[in-house]
């Protein structure tokens, strides 16, 4: 007969904060569904081809950034920052909402010693792992086309991770407010304009000053500044502000999100 437990005391020491197991879960799933990641890399490439190369043929160099910067060189880092943002946001909003509501994945995970904090941190970790893969592949491809200067541009990877962290945390906070799938429209309503105007396709100098101030407040603007500085080796004072902005945004959003999730997941 099957030897089942006979009330033996648990032999395993309790290890709190097992956030990494959430990453293991996702890696196991992605063994079956890895082509999804390809799509995520493909999207910024497509934008780069259409806007960077296509529009770039019409507009020539971008003024106001010191050395002469070609339009593809200007757009590529912004697209990478956007990809890092979208990848992280999708993971902690869209994917997580499904697991919170329809699949009830977390409900069963939380009957184990896992804490709400471990689950939340784990999902953010995973968003970072994904972000690292996507940004590395993107960087390799654009380097082949001579749009980034290695090895200096390697700073793009930690930059993309920081962006991923900030937006994964913002997404985690957002998901605690969602009432239904329809609410994703509202997220798009914020994300799309931010993508179009946060100096992705044209420099800040084209806006009148009041609009500039508005753009400078956007988290994607700082993300673009950060990656662009790493890509081009420009933007002296900006990266420090961007790093602080994104780190603070991520930490604050994460702290509030974990508290709110605690109430949702352990009613």
């Amino acid at each position: 007969m099957t030897a089942m437990p006979t009330g033996a005391p648990a032999e395993l020491p309790l290890r709190p904060g097992r956030a990494w197991t959430m990453v293991e879960r996702n890696l196991m799933i992605y063994r079956h569904t890895w082509p999804v990641l390809l799509a995520e890399i493909f999207e910024p490439m497509l934008y780069l081809l259409a806007f960077g190369v296509g529009v770039g043929l019409l507009v020539g160099d971008v003024p106001g950034l010191g050395a002469s910067i070609s339009y593809p060189q200007f757009v590529a880092p912004a697209l990478l920052a956007t990809a890092a943002m979208n990848g992280a946001m999708n993971e902690t909003t869209f994917n997580m909402y499904g697991k919170l509501t329809t699949d009830k994945t977390y409900e069963s995970i939380l009957t184990t010693p896992m804490s709400v904090r471990s689950v939340a941190l784990g999902e953010v970790f995973w968003a970072l792992v994904r972000g690292a893969i996507v940004s590395t592949v993107f960087l390799v491809v654009v380097s082949i086309f001579g749009l980034a200067d290695l090895p200096g541009a390697l700073l793009v990877i930690p930059s993309a991770l920081l962006i991923g962290f900030a937006f994964a945390a913002v997404g985690l906070l957002t998901v605690t407010f969602l009432r239904s799938w329809q609410d994703f429209q509202l997220i798009q309503l914020v994300m799309l304009p931010m993508f179009l105007f946060a100096t992705t396709f044209f420099p800040l100098s084209v806006y009148p000053r009041p609009v500039q101030v508005f753009v400078e407040v956007l988290p994607l603007y700082h993300s673009v500044e950060l990656v662009r500085a790493a890509f081009l080796g420009t933007g002296s004072g900006y990266p420090a502000i961007a790093v602080i902005y994104l780190a603070v945004l991520g930490i604050v959003a994460l702290a509030i999100a974990v508290r709110r999730l605690e109430g949702t997941l352990r009613p």
């Binding site: 099957t2 089942m4 309790l14 709190p16 197991t21 879960r25 009957t111 010693p113």
Partner: protein, 317 residues
């Protein structure tokens, strides 16, 4: 009353109120209950939907904070040592919450990782548990291909991955066909033989009679009776029940004629139940009153009748 030092689960004055703290309009799901569960026994919590069974289970599983009262499990306080308790519990929730993005075996492996078990241990255990729950052939299939009974068995296998001392089962056979239910009962009985303490909620009387050594009946958040199934039947019901069905047009007049024939009579939407020590004699008495039922059935009293007596309601309302 059980000595609390030997009780694996010890609940005193346990309450659960949903809603914001201090909010007077909160909904009271569990309203001050006391019970103890001993090592190795199968303990049942019986009640209709909304009686407070699932809320009680969720508090014991340490996934839902206790509003008031004390709840000690395996010697730990549920409020402060939730993670330590959860490490030694197996939980089979009411809805199957298996991970639909993983295969059958991967579900067991990853779930074991949440407990901090090594891959080596998990590979061995998952094989053994798939065998135990008769799912070995499905090991590498997607869980979306499983039948309802298989999904429930996988949920049970998953709950056993940490070799728990207590297994909590919230309505384990709801929605399963008879064959699947019997297979599940047989497996649960085996677990009990192996010394695992079982705590289950159910609204199926046959399930409670089959599996439980002892049970409590809950109604509107309170415990209304406690004891072994046979004890409760002896305490709260007569020996037999006469069940009568009438043609729809005649039901009221026939029911009125039966009044007074027995000490207890329960009117259900589809039938009339008369409690009696001798069903055949009562049936003769019914006929002498000129009552002509469509069907008449004499049976032994069951837990269903205990529940009816205690709450005035059928369990499956």
């Amino acid at each position: 009353m059980t000595d609390s030092s030997t009780a694996l689960i010890d609940a005193r004055g346990l309450r659960k109120v949903y809603g914001k703290p201090g909010d007077k309009a909160g909904f009271t799901a569990v309203d001050g209950i006391d019970f103890q569960v001993r090592r190795g026994e199968a303990f049942g919590v019986l009640g209709a939907n909304g009686a407070g069974k699932s809320s009680t289970m969720r508090m014991i599983a340490c996934v839902s904070p206790v509003t008031a009262g004390s709840l000690r499990i395996l010697g730990y306080d549920s409020g402060t040592d939730g993670a330590k308790i959860r490490a030694r519990l197996g939980v089979v929730p009411q809805d199957d919450t298996i991970d639909t993005e993983l295969t059958v075996r991967e579900n067991l492996l990853i779930y074991g990782r949440y407990f901090g078990l090594s891959w080596k241990v998990l590979r061995e255990r998952s094989t053994r548990l798939l065998e135990f729950t008769r799912l070995s052939e499905k090991a590498d299939d997607s869980v979306t291909t499983l039948s309802g009974g298989m999904r429930r068995r996988l949920t049970i296998a998953r709950a056993l991955i940490n070799e728990p001392e207590i297994v909590l089962l919230d309505e384990p056979t709801t929605g399963l066909d008879p064959q699947a239910r019997h297979l599940l009962w047989e497996r649960l009985f085996q677990l009990k033989q192996d010394g695992v303490t079982l705590l289950l909620t159910t609204h199926y009387m046959d399930e409670a009679e089959q599996l439980c050594d002892r049970l409590v009946v809950m109604d509107a958040g309170k415990i209304v009776a406690e004891g072994a199934p046979a004890e409760l039947i002896a305490r709260y019901t007569m020996r037999e029940v006469l069940e009568l069905r009438f043609a729809p047009g005649e039901r009221q007049t026939m029911t009125d004629k039966c009044r007074g024939l027995t000490e207890r009579m329960e009117e259900l939407p589809d039938r009339l139940l008369l409690s009696t020590d001798n069903g055949e004699e009562t049936l003769s008495a019914v006929h002498r009153q000129g009552v002509q039922p469509l069907t008449a059935l004499v049976r032994r009293s069951s837990l269903e009748d205990v529940f009816l007596t205690l709450t005035g309601r059928s369990l499956l309302d």
